[in-house]
């Protein structure tokens, strides 16, 4: 069990988080003051229409972007005070990302894509082990172009969990997959949460997926409109869409 889960401490704490994008004359308020605590070891789902601020929040807590104002702590680390190098180190050590379009390197085999991460992480698992966890041990020498979409996304999951990250950030991980393959991917995420104690933050348009979360945050207009706490999250196998 991960220490973060055992002590019940929050993984992320943010208050008054705002993000304003300036393009020429116009200002876009992507986040308008978000206060949020993400407990460690939970699965969270962010729901909301396009442009409601989910992805912006995910990018900011993942260290890909910076807030315009507000505070953001990951455990004891103040992410807003970090420079680019420190943010990169934070991503390298603590964050696993999973995207809608997999973002595998086409010139590397499945195993090599995982090794991209294990080569630079502090206490990674073996690349083969990570592929085993997502059920792709036998496809380790295949290039992305030789894998189905679902398989590619599972390679992406293996790549994300191989470093034993504190947090997995998933932006529409099933958006490009059919339901059967999507559920398979969600199962591996739940599995990582269960066995590694990894906090999982998941963006989706698919309300059905909310059933597997401990908490659901509903976004609207750059704010959290509503928080649902799910006392009994179900196994992804029970989800359908």
């Amino acid at each position: 069990m991960n220490a973060a889960v055992s002590d019940g401490a929050p993984a992320f704490r943010c208050s008054g988080l705002a993000k304003i994008y300036r393009t020429g004359e116009t200002e876009v308020h992507a986040l308008r003051g978000v206060d949020l605590v993400i407990p460690a070891g939970e699965i969270l789902v962010l729901l909301g229409p396009s442009g409601s601020g989910k992805s912006t929040l995910l990018n900011i807590i993942g260290g890909l972007d910076r807030p315009s104002s507000g505070t953001l702590l990951y455990r004891d680390l103040d992410l807003t005070a970090m420079d680019d190098r420190e943010l990169t180190r934070f991503r390298r050590a603590d964050v696993g990302f999973i995207f809608q379009f997999y973002n595998l390197i086409p010139s590397l085999t499945a195993e090599e894509n995982v090794r991209l991460v294990t080569d630079i992480a502090d206490h990674p698992m073996d690349a083969a082990e990570a592929l085993g966890l997502v059920g792709l041990a036998d496809r380790r020498d295949h290039y992305p172009a030789q894998l189905s979409g679902g398989e590619q996304q599972r390679v992406a999951v293996a790549r994300a969990i191989a470093k034993r990250p504190g947090v997995l950030l998933c932006d529409e991980p099933t958006g490009a997959l059919d339901s059967r393959t999507g559920i398979r991917v969600l199962e591996t995420l739940a599995e990582a949460n269960r066995t590694l104690g990894t906090t999982v933050v998941l963006i989706t348009h698919n309300i059905g997926i909310a059933a597997m979360a401990h908490r659901v945050f509903h976004f609207l207009d750059g704010r959290i409109a509503r928080v649902e706490v799910n006392a009994a999250p179900i196994d992804p196998a029970g989800i359908s869409w």
């Binding site: 992805s55 990018n59 993942g62 890909l64 972007d65 680019d84 190098r85 990169t88 180190r89 991503r91 390298r92 050590a93 964050v95 990302f97 995207f99 379009f101 973002n103 390197i105 086409p106 010139s107 590397l108 090599e112 090794r115 991209l116 991460v117 080569d119 630079i120 992480a121 290039y143 992305p144 172009a145 790549r159």
Partner: protein
Amino acid sequence: MKALDLKLARDLWRMRGQVLAIALVLAAASATFILSLGVHRSLTATRDAYYAESAFADIFADMTRAPRSVTERVAEIPGVRHVEGSIRQYATLDLPGWRAPARALVNSLGKTGGSVLNRLTLRAGRLPDATHPGEVVADEAFVEANGLALGARLDAVIYGRKQPLTIVGVGLAPDYIYSIAPGDLIPDNSRFGIFWMNEKALEAATDRTGAITRLALTLERGASEADVIRRVDALLTPYGGTGAYGRADHISHAFLDNELLQLEAMTRVIPPVFLIVSTFLVYIVLGRMIQTERSLIGLVKAFGYSDRAIGWHYLKFALAIALVATLLGTLAGAWMGRGMTSLYAEYYRFPILRYHLSPAVIVGATALAAASAGLGALGGMRAAVRLSPAVAMAPPPPPVYRAGPIERLGKRAGLSVVGHMILRHIARWPARSAMTIFGVALSMGLLFATMQFVDSSRSMLDSYFFRSQRYDLAVTFIEPRGADAIYALAQIPGVLRAEPTRALPVKLRSGSRTERTAIEASASGARLSAHIDRDGREMALPPAGLMLSRQLADQLGVNAGDIVEVELLGGRQTRLRQPVASIVDEFVGARAYASAATLEAISRDAAPAGGAFVRIDPAARAAILARLKDMSAVLGVTERDAALLLFERMIDDNIFTMLFFYIAFASAITIGVVYNSARILFSERAHELATLRVLGYHRREVGLILLGELALLVIVAVPLGCLIGYAMAQLMTAMFSSDLFRLPFAPARSTYGYAALIVLAAALATAAIVARRILQLDMVRVLKARE
């Protein structure tokens, strides 16, 4: 403006970095083309106009002394149009304050003060007055080099008699466009001048009343030069004729011709290198552009645009680059052409030498640039035309990577994942990778081929001044002297050694080939001069027979062991056969050598010396030069150190100036190739690089992946560049060699290093500019899109 043209204009602006990088390479092609062809044409046109206007003769002949009436007999030879006789006489000069004796070649001016052939052009002052025998016109280069003004007085010893001269005019003539003292390697205008004197005055000064020593003649159109030369020689033999010769053997004409030959060689070799690279660059850049605009092409085709319109659209992109390049290249080429022409004007004296850029040259440069860019566009255009709208609008199939043989090697070598990424990407785009390697290698080859001219000149300098010439002074006598003259030299305090030198004017013949030359001899046991072979070996004079320079042997078509016929010139009708004992591969001229004994046997005389090589105590130099100035037997003195200095200055002025431009041009290739490769690489890999940044790779690490591939290609290009440079240098050395010089091919090892360093520095600086884009890599935006 049509919508597609608007897109074209915006594309050009958006890709301005890449457009400019290609345009610079193509501009280098235009610039070097306009430079070399423009200067070639200007020089040719100026020369031809000057020759025509001043009636430059077709055939020249020198003799000891002939009655003036011989011109009438020469005029009767069929094919001869005009004949003119004159007197030419070397004189030693003495100006107060001059350290060493200087020489002048004094020419007579016809009765009317002018001449029919080889007409003198006055630049300042006036012609000599018939009533003042000491008045002369001096050549412009001599007057400038010595800072003389009209009215300057100097003492001359003409034909053994001291005579005060006054410079009343400054002039130029077509037979002295390039004036160099006999035996010198490069002109020294401060020590050698051309003077023109009233005919009567020179007749009196040289005891040649009613006589001439030189003939010049022009030919009727279609007359045979060889025929006329044969008949002139027959006529002049009794008068000590040393053999008539045409323009090709005229020293001033030959040097000018040599220069034109080198310019022609430059035009043939250098612009094509830039043109080839430009074609490659347009090919890869347009290829990538069409790849990224796939769906757009499909869309536009679906709207109903024809294949031809789309092909033309991309061709226009290439032609726009050619247009920019031609503009830049024309400006740069004209500017450099002007500079080069004024450099030529220092050595080649024309009344007016201006760089004239003819429209034909610009049209030629434009056509070449357009053809080069257009050829590069063809591949991309064909791809764009072939794309069917339905296929084009669908996303392209993902690139397929496979483990190739290099890859397996890499695996065995325990390559990192990043190493695999680099290798597989190179293998995925083999044509583009090969072009990058080849482009950089060509750039290095061109650098090396031009930089080695410094080595070549230095090697020539080393061989000629340090190994071959071991004397301090070369003394020329007014006329051949016996052993007593050498003895007199040796007696001057501070002279350590004096050795006689002799040159016997001859015609050498083998089969149908004839060459005018002189057989040069030094005394047995001579230590002050040596014959150095191309590979640095010292060649001893053969005990019997002749030693020919490789140049002369090639011109005669003979080899060691063959027999040549020797015809003595200068009045003696002696013909005999001599074996070619050995061949020496020298750099300067077509020359023949023999031992003093052999020469004596050939000439059947007591071998008088035409001059001497002298080794001196450096401390006594000034005193010795002063003594030589006063010796009536001495015509001139060439100081080895002064000549060496002049030669070094010429290398510094000319070669280093050219080198600067060629380093800039060759770097343009590397910059163009690396910049475009890097930009394409970046655009192809932006997605991957952003992914790596998200995964926690630092900017530096991501930069290394981008630059690693380029670095690998550039490093592979270096040895290839050495090979290309070696071949190009050999070709250029051969093309730059003429009857006057054979450039040694002697690249220093460090030159490979310097060429590689310059290329690597240019590549590194360019790559760094592109690598800065990694700072602006927007991870979020890139990851939102499907690649």
